[in-house]
C-alpha cells in the first residue's frame, strides 16, 4: 500500500500539492516513487521560471527511465529543493517530506481540478 496524506491535492500524473497561502508546495507521491524505483536524478527548473498547469516542469530519473514532472498549477517558481541535487534518493525515502518546487500560484482556482486523497486513492487502485 502506498502512503497517501489527507488534506493534500493530487494530480493524475502523481504529483501532490500542499497549499501554503498563495504558494503551492509540489512533490511526487509515494506511489510514484515506488513505481520509479531508485531515483538517481531530479531535473528541476530554476527559481523565477514560469510553470504552467498540465505542462512539464522537470523530470525524475531512475536507473532505467526518465519520467516527466507535470505541474499541477501555474505560476512562478519561488524555491526549488536543492537538497535533491546531491541526494535525489530522498524522494524514495519520503516522497511527501521531500518536496520538489514551490510555486507562487497565478490562478489558485486551478486547484479545484485536482483530486483529494480519497479520489487519488481510487485513481491508483488502492
Amino acid at each position: 500500500m502506498s502512503k497517501i496524506i489527507e488534506g493534500l491535492k493530487y494530480s493524475e500524473s502523481h504529483e501532490w500539492v500542499k497549499v501554503e497561502g498563495g504558494v503551492a508546495v509540489v512533490g511526487v507521491t509515494d506511489f510514484a516513487q515506488k513505481e520509479m524505483g531508485d531515483i538517481t536524478y531530479v531535473d528541476m527548473p530554476d527559481v523565477d521560471d514560469e510553470v504552467t498547469a498540465g505542462e512539464e516542469f522537470g523530470a525524475l530519473e531512475s536507473v532505467k527511465a526518465a519520467s516527466d514532472l507535470i505541474s499541477p498549477v501555474s505560476g512562478k517558481v519561488v524555491e526549488v529543493n536543492e537538497a535533491l541535487d546531491d541526494t535525489p534518493e530522498l524522494v524514495n525515502e519520503d516522497a511527501f517530506e521531500n518536496w520538489i518546487i514551490k510555486v507562487e500560484m497565478s490562478d489558485p482556482s486551478e486547484l479545484d481540478a485536482l483530486m483529494d486523497a480519497a479520489a487519488y486513492k481510487e485513481h491508483i487502485g488502492e
Binding site: G37, D38, T40, Y41, D43, E56, A59, E61, S62, V63, K64, A65, A66, P88
Partner: protein
C-alpha cells in the same frame, strides 16, 4: 513490435513461475514476459560486479547447423572466421545483409562432433534469423534446426561465478574452462552445455540445458543464496562493459563497421555483406558509434540529440545511463564521423538543457574476464 502484443500472446520461459513467486517486476521483452528486476537494479548490478548474480536468459535462441558443409555454410553467413577454430570454442560475430546492415549478432559454438555448430541468437530475432539461415542454407549440404523452445539458459556472472558453479552445482570442470570455451556435461539425463561466456563484463558462465534441468539449476542456485538479476541490470552491466545491444547499437541500419565492431569481420574470406562492409571501412560511412561522458548527473537517454558546442546537431544517443559502477553519466551515441575522435567536445540535449561532454572510449568499465 513486442509492445503491441497482449500479455496473453507473450511467451513465458521455463522459469516464469519462479519469477512470479519471487515477486519480480515483469515486463514484455522480445515477445517474452521477462523479469526486469527482483530487488533494485543497483543491488543486482552490484551483486554481479562484486560477488555473483544469475539471469534467466532462456529466451535466447538456439539454432543448430550440421552436415558435411556446415562449416562452409556458417562461414558464409557469419562475419567472423570459423575455419581453424577448434571444437569447444565459442566465437562472437554477426550475420549481415548484403548491404552491410546486421541481421543479428550471435555466438557460434563449434561442437565436438565434426561439422556441428550451435548458433545462439537474440530472442527478438529467432524467427527472422531462422528464416534467414534456412533460406541461405539452400545449396549447402547441411541441415538447420531451431531448438529454441526446448532449451533453457541461465547466466551465472560475477567474480564468484566459478566458485558458485563448482561449489553449488558441482560442475568441477568449469575450473579449467577458458574464456569463450565450453564443455558438454549431462544434467537430469539431458545435455548440459557449460560455456564460459556472458554479457556483463565480468567472468561468468552460461548454462544451457533442458527446461526441467534449467528449473532445477535455478532452484539450487536460489537455495544457495545467489542473487537473481533481471534484464534491468543486464542492460546497465553490458552497457558499462561496452557491449552492443541489437536494436540499439546494431541493426539493419547500423553495421558492425559503424558500431566499431569491425574486428569481428574477417575480410580474408567471403561472407554475406563483405563488399558493403569493406566499402564502409574504406571511408563510405557517415556515422560512427562513440562513447560520450557528460559533466553532470543528468542522464542521456536513447533518442536524445548530440550537438557540437556551437549547437549543431550531429548525432543521437543509442543507450545511456548514470553508470552505477563509475558514478558518471555516459552514453553510446551514433555521431557524424567527423566528430568521432576521442576527446572531441560534444554536448547532449536533455529535455530543455544542454550538457557539455566529450568523446570517450566505449568500454566505460574495466572488464574482468577469465584469462
Amino acid at each position: 513490435m513486442s509492445e503491441n502484443l497482449n500479455n496473453a500472446e507473450l511467451l513465458k520461459t521455463c522459469l516464469y513461475d519462479r519469477h512470479v513467486a519471487l515477486q519480480a517486476k515483469m515486463s514484455p521483452f522480445a515477445g517474452f514476459m521477462m523479469p526486469i528486476q527482483y530487488d533494485s537494479i543497483t543491488v543486482e548490478h552490484n551483486a554481479v560486479r562484486q560477488k555473483v548474480g544469475m539471469f534467466d536468459v532462456s529466451h535466447m535462441g538456439e539454432i543448430f547447423v550440421e552436415g558435411p558443409e556446415a562449416e562452409k555454410f556458417v562461414n558464409w553467413i557469419f562475419t567472423n572466421e570459423i575455419r581453424g577454430f577448434e571444437p569447444g570454442k565459442v566465437l562472437y560475430g554477426m550475420m549481415c545483409y548484403p548491404e552491410g546492415g546486421v541481421v543479428d549478432d550471435l555466438l557460434v559454438y563449434r561442437e565436438f562432433a565434426p561439422e556441428h555448430f550451435l548458433l545462439v541468437v537474440n530472442a527478438a530475432n529467432i524467427d527472422k534469423d531462422f528464416a534467414w539461415i534456412e533460406e541461405h542454407a539452400k545449396g549447402f549440404d547441411c541441415v538447420v534446426r531451431n531448438e529454441s523452445p526446448v532449451w533453457g539458459q541461465i547466466a551465472v556472472q560475477g567474480p564468484e561465478a566459478e566458485k558458485t558453479v563448482v561449489g553449488v552445482l558441482g560442475l568441477k570442470e568449469a575450473e579449467n574452462l577458458g574464456f569463450y570455451t565450453f564443455y558438454d556435461a549431462e544434467y537430469k539425463g539431458k545435455r548440459l552445455i557449460v560455456s564460459r561466456t556472458g554479457y556483463t563484463g565480468e567472468d561468468g558462465f552460461e548454462l544451457y540445458t533442458s527446461l526441467e534441468g534449467t528449473v532445477d539449476l535455478w532452484d539450487r542456485l536460489i537455495a544457495a543464496g545467489v542473487q537473481p538479476c533481471g534484464l534491468g541490470c543486464r542492460d546497465t552491466l553490458r552497457f558499462e562493459a561496452g557491449l552492443p545491444l541489437y536494436g540499439d547499437e546494431l541493426s539493419p541500419e547500423i553495421s558492425p563497421v559503424m558500431a566499431g565492431l569491425g574486428m569481428f569481420c574477417k575480410y580474408e574470406k567471403d561472407f554475406i555483406g563483405k563488399e558493403a562492409l569493406l566499402a564502409q571501412k574504406g571511408g563510405e560511412i557517415v556515422r560512427k558509434l562513440v562513447g560520450i561522458e557528460i559533466e553532470d548527473k543528468a542522464i542521456p537517454r536513447a533518442g536524445y540529440p548530440v550537438e557540437t558546442p556551437e549547437g549543431e546537431e550531429v548525432g543521437i544517443v543509442t543507450t545511456g545511463y548514470h553508470s552505477i559502477s563509475l558514478d558518471k553519466s555516459v552514453c553510446f551515441a551514433l555521431v557524424d564521423k567527423a566528430y568521432a575522435a576521442l576527446d572531441t567536445p560534444l554536448s547532449i540535449r536533455i529535455r530543455k538543457k544542454v550538457f557539455p561532454g566529450k568523446v570517450v572510449k566505449k568500454r566505460f568499465y574495466q572488464t574482468n574476464y577469465k584469462k
